[in-house]
Every structure is written in C-alpha cells, then in structure tokens.
C-alpha cells in the first residue's frame, strides 16, 4: 500500500474538495441556462439544446474533470434525452465505421506487439544502422516515425522506451545532464509524434475525424490519399526535428559501442524469428495493401476487421492477448464524439455557430485553414487530440460549407495538427514516456516543442498552399 498524506491546512483541502461539486453544480446551471434561454433567431430548439450539450462536453473535455470516455457518455445520454436526435439515431451512430476501424487497428497493433515482431524490427534496425552516435540517433528517430505509420504512436513509444533506456544506461549517460541522453528520448518522442500523423494508423484521431466528416457531409478521405497529402509534412518535420535537436543538444559522446552490445544482447534474447512473427507480419502487409486498394469499395473498417478475424482463425493470437491492447475508453470516447458532431450538424447548431460567431473574420478559405490549424496545434498541447477534433471539427465543417470550402480540407486542417503535440508530457503519451526517463525535463520539452509547433504549423500551411494543388487538392470544392 502506498500512502500519501496531504499536510496542507484543512481549510485549504476542504475548499479544494468543495471545488469539484461546485464545478458540477455550475456546469449543470450553465447547461440549464443554455438549454432554456430564449432561442436565438435562426437557431432551432434542437440546435440550442445541441449547443448546450456541446458546451458541457467542451468544458469537461478541456478540464478533464471526468475521464474523456465518460464525457462522451454524457453526450450519448444527453443528445437523445433532450430530443436533439432520436434514441435510435443516437445509438446507431455508435456503429460508425470509424469506431470499428479504431477497434480493428488496436487489435492489429496488439497482435504485432504480442508476437514480438515490432520489437524485433526495432532492434534489428538499430543494431544494423546504429554504429555511430549520429546514426544511432537517426535510426531511433526514423524508426519511431516509421513504426508509427503502422501502429499507434503511443504503442510505439511504449515499445521502444525500454530499448532506448537500456541504451542510455549502457552508454552511462547521466539523466538530466547528458545531451545525448536528451537526444535519444527526444528522438523517441518526436519521432512517434511526427510519424503518427503519417497514416490513419498512427492514432485514432484521423479515423475519428473522418467518421465525423462522413456522418455530417457524406464525404470521406481514403487511406492512400491521406498519406500522400501528409507525407511531405512528415518528411520536412523529420528533417527539421533532427536539425533542431542536434543544434539544441550537440552530441556529447564519441562512440556507441556499449549501446551496440546492449542491442546485440537483446536481439540474442529474442531467438530466431518465429512462425507467429512471419504470419502476423504477412497479415499486416496484406492488410495495408487492402486499405490502399480495397479501402474505397470495402471500407477501411471491413479490411481491418477481416485481418483481425484472420489472426484468430490462424490462431496467431488469443482474445486474452489482444484484450489488454484495446483501449475501450478511447472507443467509447470516439463514439460519443461522433454522436455529438452529428447532433450539432443535423440540428443546424454548427452552421448557426459559424454564421454568428466566426463569419466576421473567416472571410477567405485560407484564413479558415490557417486559423483552425493554429487552434488545433495549440489546443492539442493542453488537451486530448481526440477532444480537439470533437470540439473543432463540427464547427469548422459548418463553416466550410458557407465558404464553399471542401469539408475534407477543413478536416485535414484540424486532424493533422491535432496529432502534432511537441511541447508537454500531458500533450501525448509519447512525450510523457520520454519525460518519465528523467533524461528530459519538462522545460527542455516546452522550449524545443514550442519551436517545433510553430514550424509544424508554418510547414503544414505551406504544404497545403503549394503542394496540395499539385495532387489535385484545393481549399475550395
């Protein structure tokens, strides 16, 4: 039992304890006020109630007073209860393709990690290419990024962390002091963050955004289209990241021989590649091809779920092995976010909010794109990337319509920056894992992360303005 005693004055503890009930009472009053105040002109009563639910969820998502998934439950309960959508429609939205795609992606990633394939790939690459400090650093950075194309960036960070930690120990790097120690963990965290936006698989936020897009406009974004559109950003950010890191923290070790020994020892411990690893690798390869070539006809979720079924048919995994890798809270959260986004759209609330609040400044498509991407990239530093999407996307899609913008472009403007969290450990688990090593301080991360955020926003807007037209994408429809 680990016990902690709060020795602050009792009046202070009592006041702080009272804050929580006071917060929820205030929230209930706010909801009541928004739901019952005279309906503004141009807004339906359902729209007004949808805005009230949205306000409650927005505050809860930002404040984190209850887990994100529980906030989604609020949305799921309040939307039918106040007649914004019917019960049947509300719960049917939970069966959205995006939710099942996320479920399938979690299971696939679980199978890859459980088989040991991801670990073997990581160790092999580092052992083969990491024979100098610069190369070892680069191989960790690129490996984290590339693996995050195929698995959740959180899972990649968790998988690579013990390896990088062992390397740091093997090199006798002093936590908090060694530049090379900082570099290795920054490479791990930022590699995951940058790579995580490269495909649908790096995190569940892009599928969520596409789920909302599809429910509200009927439009979608294909797997390959997304990657082709985002890849230049990923490549540029990897170059910029490496450049900035090595400038901020010049390499202060001369050789990495002892790290190499650590990797060799770990690799030996894995033994020869097993049948399961080959088979899981083959299933993953076929699945990616399926997403690229069959995604449009069959649907991304269908391809993912077929792959999961195949894994079970071939007895490559057991349910018990997979269960621990499936984040059911995230699935619940995304279901709720899709319901809320649809409720705002179908009730006309999103369009009304855009017209009344944002129409003044958002006069051109590129300003809309620039402002939403800026909001997204900074909000994601302080809150969950999924919450950023749930808050911004329904409103921005409404605005796109009024400016004849392509709603898919607006989806990019929010979904991609929402994954680029560089500044704080609470922004994304990859950063938190890196800081937990004690090689990097929060101050280090905030300083370098701020420059990365600004750079990412500028690069993203430049890519949208100059590269996307080359591949047939534009701000307007």
């Amino acid at each position: 039992m680990s016990v902690e005693i709060d020795t602050r004055p009792l009046w202070l503890i009592l006041s702080l304890k009272a804050l929580r009930p006071a917060f929820f009472i205030a929230l209930a009053l706010l909801f009541w006020f928004l739901a019952t105040m005279p309906t503004p002109e141009g807004l339906s009563i359902e729209g007004q109630r949808a805005i009230a639910v949205f306000a409650v969820c927005l505050i809860l998502w930002v404040s984190n007073m209850v887990p994100l998934a529980i906030t989604s439950l609020f949305a799921i309960v309040l939307v039918p209860l106040f007649g914004v959508l019917s019960k049947k429609d509300t719960y049917a939205l939970f069966g959205n393709e995006a939710v099942f795609f996320i479920l399938g992606a979690f299971m696939l990633a679980g199978a890859i990690m459980h088989s040991g394939l991801s670990n073997r790939i990581a160790l092999n690459i580092m052992e083969r290419f990491g024979d100098s400090p610069r190369k070892l650093l680069l191989s960790i950075f690129l490996l984290a990024a590339v693996l995050s194309f195929f698995m959740s960036e959180h899972a990649v960070a968790a998988m690579l962390f013990p390896i990088v930690f062992d390397i740091s120990k093997g090199l006798n790097l002093r936590p908090g002091k060694s530049n090379y120690g900082k570099l290795l963990f920054f490479a791990l965290a930022w590699g995951c963050v940058i790579g995580g936006v490269g495909t649908f698989l790096g995190g569940a936020r892009v599928p969520l955004a596409i789920g909302i897009l599809k429910e509200t406009t009927g439009r979608t974004i294909e797997f390959l289209d997304y990657t082709v559109a985002v890849l230049p950003l990923v490549v540029i950010m990897l170059l910029v990241g490496y450049f900035l890191l090595t400038r901020f923290f010049p390499i202060d070790v001369e050789g990495v021989e002892s790290a190499h020994q650590v990797l060799v020892k770990r690799l030996k411990g894995l033994g020869k590649m097993s049948y399961d690893e080959y088979a899981v690798g083959a299933v993953l390869g076929v699945t990616i091809l399926g997403w690229i070539f069959l995604g449009k006809q069959a649907g991304l979720a269908t391809v993912a779920l077929v792959a999961v079924v195949v894994l079970f048919v071939l007895k490559l995994v057991r349910w018990k092995d997979i269960e621990e890798y499936v984040n059911w809270g995230i699935i619940l959260m995304y279901g709720g976010a899709i319901i809320l986004g649809t409720a705002l759209d179908k009730s006309g609330a999103a369009a009304w909010m855009v017209n009344s609040a944002l129409s003044g400044w958002a006069t051109t498509p590129w300003t809309v794109f620039a402002v939403f991407s800026l909001l997204s990239i900074f909000l994601t530093e302080a809150m969950s990337n999924a919450a950023v999407i749930a808050i911004l996307l329904p409103v921005s899609v409404g605005m796109a319509d009024s400016l004849s913008m392509d709603p898919a472009i607006v989806t990019y403007s929010i979904a991609v920056p929402a994954g680029l969290a560089f500044m704080f450990p609470m922004s994304t688990p990859a950063n938190a894992i890196a800081v937990s090593s004690h090689y990097i301080s929060v101050k280090d991360m905030a300083k370098g992360g701020f420059i990365m955020c600004i750079t990412a926003w500028v690069v993203f807007n430049l890519v949208a303005a100059f590269y996307w037209p080359l591949i047939g994408m534009g701000y307007t429809k």
Binding site: M1, S2, V3, E4, I5, D6, T7, L10, I13, L14, K17, N64, V66, P67, L68
Partner: protein, 396 residues
C-alpha cells in the same frame, strides 16, 4: 513538613502513585485482589491506579477506609471522599476460544490497552529496558499471539460495557522495519471496520517515515513512540535495546514526522519521571513540545525483584515537573484533550488545577460525554478522509 494534597486531586494523584495506599477494609482488599493496583476515582472525576501490594506501600501515610455508604482516603490529618472504580465486567469473561478478555485488554480510565501479543524481542536478546521487568507488567518472552477474532471479541466487550472509548494497541519490539505496524495492521483495520471508536497505537519508531503515514491511513487516531528517558547516557544505560537498535535520534525524527501527520495533541511519548534528574525530564518536555508532541509522564515506582533500584523522587520535586509540562503544552498551543482521564498517569489537564486553579471546563465535560466521544470520532474520521490521498485515483 510534608504538604497536604488531599484537597488538590492532581497533586494527590501524584502522591498516591508514588507512595501507594494501605488497605484495612476487607471489602476493598478483596476488590484490589490480584490487580497491579487499585482503581479509585478521586474528586473532580480524577481516576487513579494506586499501588497497594508493593513493599513500599506499607509506609504510605494514606489509608482507604469505609465512610458511610462510600469510601474516603485519609492521611491521618484529613480525609477526602472517593469512590472505588468498579472492576470492568469483561475481565471475568472469556472469548469464544476460551481466552480471558483480561489477558488481551486492560482498562485504564478512558483507554483500554489491547495487547495482541505480549512479546518484546528486547527480552530475547537480553537488552530489555531495565525498568520493564515487572514495572509495566510486560511478559517479554511470551510468544502468545491473539487472533484478530479474539481481539475483536474483546474490543466488542469493552465498548459494550462503555468502560472506555479509546482502544489503545500496544506492541513490544520486533526486529522489523515497520516498528510493528504491519503486525498490528489487521487488528487496527478490523477494529476500525467494526466499531466507531478512536484508536491509539503505541509502537516502536519505524525505520522509514512512510510507515508513520501508513499508521495514520490505517485508522490510528493517535500514535505513541515512547522515548522514556531524555538524557542520552541514561537512555543508553537503562534502555540498551532501544539505544542500540533504534537510537534516540530516530525516536526524535519519527515523533517529529508523526506530529506533522497526526492531529494536534495526538502524538505522544512517555518520559518516565524518576529515571533521570527532573531537570533532564524538563529538557525532554521542552524538546518534545517544540516538535508538537505531548510528553506523558508516568511515575517510576520501584519494587522488589526489579533490575533497576533507583530511589524514587518525592512529590514536592515531581509537581514542578508536571507544572512545567502544562506550561510548555500551553505555550506551544498543543491540544490537551486527547491525553485525559488515564488512571496510570497524571495528565496535563489534571495538573491545570495546580497551575491555574479551577475545575473541568464545559469543553472538557463535553469531550467526556457520549456526544463528545462521537463528535471526536466523527471529526477524526473526516480529517483522515481529507488528508489521506487515494492512491487508486484513476488517471484520465
């Protein structure tokens, strides 16, 4: 010329504890039979346990005699009316396993001391405290361990009888890092789960402070790490086990940390009066009160067969020490309400009359009432609920 203490219960208590009492009355003799002393209630609801069977009591000026329907204590020059404290009925009962409740629990006024195991490893290593062999009736080599169920039955009997409101767990030395708290844990948890009562724990200072935090989180409302002697040399001489295996420094550190964790006035430490010069005891009082710890001053009473033969101090010398204690506690704003109504020691509240005059205040009467006890329990529970951080608090 000896002073007359009959009219000041606090001073009389000290004098009686030092000199003992003679018993002529056959009823009282029968009453006291087999006990370490006789429990009597002096005026102003002052309980006292008076030695009556030891050798030195034969020369005591005090004698208890029947007076009308009650009793009186006389010193030959005057007398004061007292009442005999009934021997708790649970002493005559047994647990379902056949153990006498009196083997497990002993009432001393508002406290009932529960000893789940009388074992003290200092005895097994022959480094026991020199005053211990008999003075506090410790059977250090006894390996008996009473079960949680037996202890719960005892506590239930105590609380049903309403003889005490505070359950006081006591444990001897065992060579563990936790000071004995791991051993007491199931007992404390069971008592807290089953009954609405306050719990005090007398243990040895643990090696690390987190055990103190755990003691509080478990449900202990008060903790005692008994230093016994403040003078370093005498401490090493008289308490070789404590000195060698724990050390005075660790006692001080543990007490200082406990005072930050537990409520004001609930962390205490014994300083035995008579085992060191009064000036040294006063220094100990100042040192402990400076940390927010309540010094409790039992009186050393030598008797036949003990390893330690020290000539006891007399009341005239001891009373200023108790007055010093009262002044030091008041000066530091340490609550006096927890350590009260104990028959084995003179409490700071009982000394107040000697310093300021006057009897019990309304607040003290409230604390002694049923409602007061319930309030104390409620506030103590609420404080724990607020202070102990839930380690299982889920992240978002």
């Amino acid at each position: 010329m000896k002073k007359n203490y009959l009219n000041t219960p606090g001073a009389l208590k000290i004098d009686l504890m030092l000199r003992g009492i003679r018993i002529d009355d056959p009823v009282v003799k029968a009453w006291a039979c087999g006990s370490s002393g006789i429990d009597i209630m002096l005026p102003q609801n002052t309980p006292v346990n008076i030695p009556c069977s030891e050798e030195f009591t034969g020369s005591s000026p005090y004698i208890i005699k029947k007076k009308g329907s009650g009793y009186a204590i006389t010193d030959g020059k005057g007398e004061v009316g007292v009442s005999l404290l009934e021997r708790p009925a649970f002493y005559n009962k047994k647990t379902s396993t056949g153990v006498h409740f009196s083997n497990i629990g002993a009432s001393h006024g508002s406290y009932t001391v529960i000893t789940p195991s009388p074992r003290c490893d200092f005895f097994n290593r022959s480094i026991e405290c020199k005053y211990c062999a008999g003075n506090f009736d410790i059977k250090g080599r006894d390996n008996t361990v009473y079960s949680v169920e037996e202890v719960i039955e005892t506590v239930e009997a105590v609380l049903k009888e309403k003889s005490s409101g505070v359950i006081y767990f006591s444990i001897g030395f065992s060579d563990t890092d936790d000071g004995g708290i791991e051993f007491l844990k199931p007992y404390i948890k069971a008592v807290k789960k089953q009954f609405n009562c306050l719990v005090a724990v007398e243990a040895l200072p643990p090696k690390e402070n987190h055990w103190i935090e755990e003691t509080y989180a478990l449900g202990a409302d008060s903790v005692l790490y008994n230093l016994e002697i403040f003078d370093k040399e005498l401490f090493e001489l008289i308490c070789p086990g404590r000195a060698q295996l724990i050390g005075q420094k660790r006692y001080m550190e543990a007490l200082a940390h406990a005072a930050k964790i537990f409520p004001n006035g609930t962390v205490a430490s014994h300083l035995i009066v008579g085992l060191e010069p009064p000036g040294s005891t006063c220094q100990g009082i100042d040192f402990l009160t400076e940390m927010g710890v309540v010094p409790i001053l039992p009186i050393y009473r030598p008797s036949k067969g003990r390893a330690l033969r020290i000539e006891p101090l007399n009341t005239e010398i001891i009373i200023p020490v108790y007055k010093h204690l009262y002044g030091a506690l008041k000066k530091k704003g340490i609550s006096l309400n927890w350590v009260r109504d104990i028959s084995m020691v003179t409490t700071p509240l009982e000394v107040r009359e000697l310093v300021e005059g006057g009897g019990k205040t309304i607040a003290e009467s409230f604390y002694n009432s049923k409602l007061g006890r319930k309030t104390a329990w409620g506030l103590s529970t609420l404080r724990r609920k607020l202070r102990v951080k839930d380690s299982k608090d889920e992240g978002h």
